[in-house]
Chain length 345, copies 2
């Protein structure tokens, strides 16, 4: 039997139907490349120059509410707008169509100094409640067929403001990554009559090799087909198509596991860990999505330390995503980290 | 008619069958995020500490040849190795298989101070000749079914050594991105009996909206479906499945257009422009690939200046690639730039 812990291999992603390349022996190579800056700045609870702090003026000229709880507003520089007229263009081999939508910003807290791992669980719970409200209201609109909730955390992840916040881009068409999952989930559902992710969770809970944190209602694990070095997926044990059907108890538990995962992240390299996270859930196009099982993924770029990240470049762009440590190694490392934030020890 | 220069829309990529989102109005947003460092260091022609300079010792303990021409060697820290035994693994929903291959490093020049845009055309021609040799020899091996030639240029693109060099990763399976193109090219070929890219080139040469440089045998353009801000694709006018069938004259012309494109890149922000480039060509699996039409793509991350790049993060990772300027604007900007390198004016 070939030892996949020591030999390059491909793994299959059941959610997208794609393969990724794993080269476990590769971390042995020396690194003489780019080192990221570590920002260890202490941030104040209120920054008069921050365009997301309560009461401040934004670049667009609007004034923020004096909010005390998680708060959302329409992005002043939205990539998607809802007043775009529908049009299709085709000429020879050129094909395009207009896209409309709504982009919102979700401030997680009025406190400029916070991040999810250092927020109180009950305040993360309020963020989830706001995500639910947004998903419900945006999804109800007839021309919104998909609602993408996400967060870019850290300057390396293109985040232009350290105030704790995420975004929501809701749109008419189904985005690419979601379309892949729709297909895979639906296929499994119609062949087996059960949720693909529920079956997968069962298997992972038996094997226990890739589990990072388990709570009463949720599991956080490094998926078998993870691309990013410390990629993590949070999945509800019960099949929920979207975040809307969570009970209050489950929602609180979801907040708890988000905090637990992000604490481990910060503890890994004793730094405020950068990542992009996103929640994939059933489209809001009114179709039958009984096959869906929502999940939240974290794609963090750091590989070796607070300053050395994994670059998804040449080979990865032109060929196939490639990772240097196995999902099992990453999960073990994360699992063994402390549950208390390193700044609070 | 909706003005796509001012309204968000989706464009279809004929080569991959995927869509991308274009938000032309979005460059108006202010940028307060991460700025990259600009490295304006003058490099010596020989650096005794560089592990790619002629005669030097590499990290792996090997000594470089005292090479005078483009030179290649097997990567000391290869992600793919050719002694991996074939094995397939399947257990429940987990699926994997071993992957084997060969990774090589291609030094473009013995001169540590150079980059493609400042190299002589005849020396770029020698690089192409070496790519041909490698593609031919690697592709001939029975267990190598795809040969990916690429370059990561610049620290932002994960390049760990500024010595002018690229890489080749040759492997048993067909990588994801290539598989998509195989499908699209083959489909068009069997439906129409002509090369999809040849037809596309015809259309672009008539429209002249996205052409950046045209030489006798090649066209460099910003593809209609470009993802990266200043993405460029170099395509031979005559349908060549791979770089092997280029005549000597065509090869020289290919060198010329590589130089022309990379000079424009450097001139754009008066900096050594970072990018990942790669050549997509027919697989070497012995199948009939009459549909193939090789092309070289450049994926450069810079968006607004030498220090502000486009981040492909949250939305782009979870939903769909998204760009802020149109392909037409990018092409016009590049087209209008000087043909002489800014350091040589
Ligand atoms: O092989 P290098 O130059 O050390 O490494 C670079 O290119 C590789 C191939 O695209 C990537 O996997 C690495 O993340 C990147 O840092
Ligand atoms: O919207 P922001 O935070 O200004 O911008 C950030 O997130 C967007 C959505 O993922 C990306 O398109 C941008 O490249 C990134 O810098």
């Amino acid at each position: 039997m070939v030892d996949f812990n020591d030999n390059s291999h491909r793994r299959y992603n059941i959610l997208t139907g794609e393969w990724i390349l794993v080269s476990p022996h590769r971390t042995k190579r020396p690194w003489q490349g780019k080192e990221e800056d570590v920002t260890v700045e202490e941030r104040p609870s209120y920054d008069p120059k921050c365009y997301l702090c309560p009461g401040n003026e934004r670049a667009g000229g609007h004034q923020n509410e004096d909010y005390k709880e998680p708060w959302s507003f329409v992005n002043d520089f939205a990539a998607l707008k809802n007043d775009v007229p529908q049009a299709k263009f085709k000429s020879g081999l050129l094909k395009a169509e207009s896209e409309s939508g709504i982009c919102k910003v979700v401030c997680f807290s009025p406190d400029h100094s916070l991040t999810l791992p250092v927020m109180e669980t009950e305040n993360i719970d309020k963020v989830i409640a706001l995500w639910q409200k947004e998903y419900r209201e945006l999804g109800k609109k007839t021309d919104i067929n998909h609602v993408q909730i996400f967060e870019n955390k850290g300057a390396v992840m293109g985040c232009s403001n350290p105030h704790p916040h995420g975004q929501i881009w809701a749109q008419r068409t189904i985005p690419q990554e979601v379309a892949k999952k729709n297909k895979q989930l639906r296929e499994y559902w119609s062949n087996n009559g059960v949720s693909l992710l529920a079956e997968y969770l069962k298997e992972e809970l038996q094997l226990k090799e890739r589990i990072v944190v388990e709570t009463e209602h949720f599991v956080a694990l490094v998926p078998y087909w993870a691309v990013w070095p410390y990629e993590v997926m949070i999945v509800p044990k019960k099949q929920h198509k979207t975040i809307l059907s969570l009970s209050e108890e489950e929602r609180k538990d979801y907040a708890k596991i988000i905090k637990a995962v992000t604490i481990k992240y910060d503890n890994l390299f004793k730094t405020s860990f950068p990542y992009s996270s996103g929640i994939h859930q059933a489209p809001t196009d009114g179709q039958d999505w009984d096959c869906w099982h929502f999940h939240m993924s974290f794609y963090p770029p750091l590989l070796r330390s607070a300053t050395v990240k994994k670059f998804m470049v040449g080979y990865e762009m032109f060929a196939t995503p490639q990772r240097d440590i196995t999902a099992e190694m990453a999960a073990e490392t994360l699992r063994n980290l402390a549950d208390t934030h390193y700044t609070k020890e």
